[in-house]
Amino acid sequence: MSSIRNRFSNLFTSGQAVWLIVAGLAVVSIFLSDTFLTERNIPNLLGQTVPLIIITVGLFIAIIAGQIDLSVAALVKLTAVLVSGIGDGDMGKFLAAVALAYAIGLTVGLINSLLVVVFKVPSFIATLGMFAVLEGLVLAYTVKGVGSVPTPIVDFFYGRIGPLPYSVIALAVVGAIVFAWFHFSRLAMRMYAVGGDPEVARRSGVNSGPVITWSLVICSLFAVTAGIAQVSRAGVGAPTTGEGLELAAITAVIIGGASLMGGRGKLIGAIGGAVLLTLIDNSLNMIGVSQYSQGLFRGGIIVIAIALFVSKRGART
């Protein structure tokens, strides 16, 4: 009994369990719905996952380093309205706005880490404050949908080879780079160490300040990227873009087997978590579950998935 449980929790912490659930849910959806496995739905589903995966990867990096970033969704929102509002359908202005958005992302990441590293504010509080500030900026800029994204960009997001949208292919390339980065980079290894135990890292000669700074800056830059992806799919930026994405991303990281305390988790699991969350929504739609009861099913599936794979987290932390 305990060995079965152990194997389950190993599956969970290695980030494989979540992919089993994804596969299982996909099979169920294929049987229960005629519209799930269609040429319209599959590319749509894949495209839908892109922004959440991007933001999840960023947040995963922050969480591994022992931090949390609650300002990501607000940053997605700000990026969306700025890029759409300033760009307003013009490619030149759009690119300028993208550059501006990244500059803002960099600033946000640096301010977050300044608060955390220098002023010792817990990242939960620091980024919660940043979340409020960014939300305020968005509403100061616009309270409704504003401008538009240039057509070629939107087309890119809907163009595809077979069932694979270009955006998914682009994401796969970026994803491969991130995987390699996790395996070969000094910084990534030190993030696991600082997130695992900052004191041990310190005694081993790792200065946690720069590591935390990098993790929060990278997280913000990924959030900006997610914002660009999100607004490009939508075609127009609105103050509702990206609402609730931070919670979805945190959920994705956790059901992917990472520890919210930092230092433990696999990227593949976090990505699986993001895919699972999008798949749950899509499947519920395709199966024909009413909008109103979807929350119940979504929550139920997530809770059962985690309960099934109770990790040995307690034993080690």
Binding site: F184, S185, M189, R190, G196, G205, V206, R316
Partner: protein, 522 residues
């Protein structure tokens, strides 16, 4: 400075420091005070290449402070330190590391979720620029583990999956990856079983054979004789003995650690044989074996109204005996009786239901709810007795608390004061108040006098005596022999999970306890 001539060590055949050779690490006049209270006073120490330097002393003698200064975790208030003739002062552990001074602490500094290789090279990862070379890391890790004889540890294993002895090997290997010249081992044997000790000795000898100076902290004098070249004994922040090991006997080491024969101003409050209420049941522990402790089974009795002390070194199983009685650690075999009843000790809840309460070692974490009031904490264990229909009676909880505050003379501003604002001694009294509120038959005290000032200490000693007088059996465990002796003069000395000696009456002295707990009797 006392002078000693470094002798070549028969155990390790390396080029030992010759007469007159300069020490690798030289400390002169090191002092350190915390909030005005001196922890180290004017300590001189010389470490030589290829030698094992044993550092002895009781808790609070200043050993930890000294090695913290050596390894950069603390900075000396005054004094100088020289490494290979160069004056150094380490502002942080990483600076000490960079100079080759590495401390291996009791609580291992490894990351359980990372692999052996990652742990070994954390902070000094091989590779170029931002990239690391995992192949190089594995190869180098293999080499270092082999050098130390840890051939069966795979560098790719996650550290959390290794047993504690192997984790320690990894920890020491980590010191080697840092180009260590001075390796400080803080009680490396405390977590090891006797078979694993040989492995540790072999490893220490390999370190010294490579010309490394080893500082070896331990409480076990057998180990000192086995491994050390030089012995330093500390007491009350001072160096009181510094000799070549071959020049000092165990007895000399013990008396240097204890300092004076009689440490106590007054004899224990509760002497064996003093008559007192004995209408309660007797606790009897029969043939109990602690899990993971392969030794003789435990057998002892504690009578109602009696106070019994359990003394032993860290890792000797002294606290585990208490944990076992409190239902926190089910026994492998044997039984525990209270009077005629056979106790069921599977869970803490069942232990409490049968009248056994534990005053835990870590009162701030396990004994109190720090941000709640004195009242809440005092009545926490007896809520059902002071409630009616599920509502807590405010007047009886105030009444009970007032009674306890008076009885234990707890100094508080008001009963609604949060306990975190109380002093250590008063916090401890609140824990005791909560525990005795249940009228226990057996009271277990783990480190009851730790972090408590002198005045409160003697008050708590009195309180425990009164509790015993009313018929409760009391067992007290402490790492401070002095504290146990203040409470009782019947002491069970444990070593490796077994009772090696019962000391009663005049026999119960600090020297005797130290001797039986730190020296293997053959």
């Amino acid at each position: 400075m006392q002078k000693f001539s470094p002798h070549s060590n028969s155990a390790s055949n390396h080029a030992s420091a010759e007469e007159g050779e300069a020490p690798l690490l030289r400390m002169r006049g090191i002092s350190k005070a915390f909030a005005g209270i001196p922890a180290l006073r004017d300590v001189d120490l010389d470490l030589y290449e290829g030698q094992v330097h044993a550092l002895l002393g009781q808790n609070g003698a200043g050993k930890s402070t000294l090695i913290s200064i050596m390894s950069g975790a603390l900075q000396a208030s005054s004094g100088v330190m020289e490494l290979a003739g160069q004056e150094v002062s380490f502002a942080s552990p990483s600076e000490a590391l960079a100079s080759g001074v590495v401390a291996v602490y009791q609580e291992l500094s490894l990351l359980p979720d990372m692999t052996v290789a990652e742990n070994l090279f954390l902070g000094i990862e091989p590779g170029h620029g931002p990239l690391i070379s995992r192949t190089q890391m594995r190869t180098k890790a293999r080499e270092i583990l082999d050098t130390l004889g840890a051939t069966d540890i795979d560098p790719g294993t996650v550290v959390g999956d290794l047993n504690i002895a192997n984790q320690q090997l990894v920890e020491i290997s980590k010191a080697l990856t840092r180009q260590a010249r001075v390796v400080i081992l803080d009680e490396p044997s405390a977590v090891l079983g006797s078979q694993e000790l040989d492995l540790l000795y072999a490893m220490v000898r390999r370190l010294t054979a490579g010309g490394i100076a080893v500082v070896y902290i331990t409480h076990r004098l057998d180990e000192v004789q086995e491994i050390a070249d030089v012995v330093t004994v500390m007491r009350d922040g001072r160096k009181v003995l510094d000799e070549a090991r071959s020049e000092v006997s165990k007895t000399e080491m013990i008396s240097a650690m204890v300092g004076r024969e009689v440490l106590l101003d007054a004899p224990p409050k509760w002497q064996v044989g003093v008559s007192r209420a004995q209408d309660g049941p007797t606790l009897s522990v029969q043939n109990v074996v602690l899990p993971g402790m392969a030794g003789e089974a435990l057998n002892f009795e504690v009578q109602s109204g009696e106070i019994v002390g359990i003394a032993g070194l860290t890792g000797s199983g002294r606290s585990r005996i208490l944990r076992l009685l409190a239902g926190l650690e089910p026994p492998l075999s044997g039984k525990v009786n209270l009077g005629q009843t056979v106790l069921n000790l599977r869970t803490p809840r069942s232990a409490i239901a049968q009248g056994i309460v534990l005053v835990p070692e870590d009162r701030k974490r396990l004994g109190l709810i720090l941000n709640q009031s004195v009242i809440s904490n005092t009545v926490l264990s007896i809520l059902s007795r002071i409630s009616r229909l599920g509502f807590i009676s405010r007047s009886s909880s105030r009444g009970r608390t007032q009674e306890m505050v008076d009885r234990l003379s707890i100094k508080i501003a008001s009963m609604n004061q949060e306990v975190r604002y109380l002093s250590g001694g008063n916090q401890q009294k609140v824990v005791i108040a909560r525990c005795i509120g249940t009228n226990p038959k057996l009271l277990l005290l783990d480190e009851p006098l730790r972090g408590v000032d002198i005045g409160a200490k003697s008050e708590i000693v009195d309180i425990v005596g009164q509790i015993a007088e009313q018929g409760t059996a009391v067992i007290v465990v402490s790492s401070e022999i002095e504290d146990v002796l203040a409470l009782t003069n019947r002491i069970l000395v444990v070593r490796d999970g077994c009772i090696v000696r019962e000391l009663i009456g005049d026999e119960a002295t600090e020297t005797m306890v130290l001797q039986y707990s730190s020296v293997r009797q053959s």
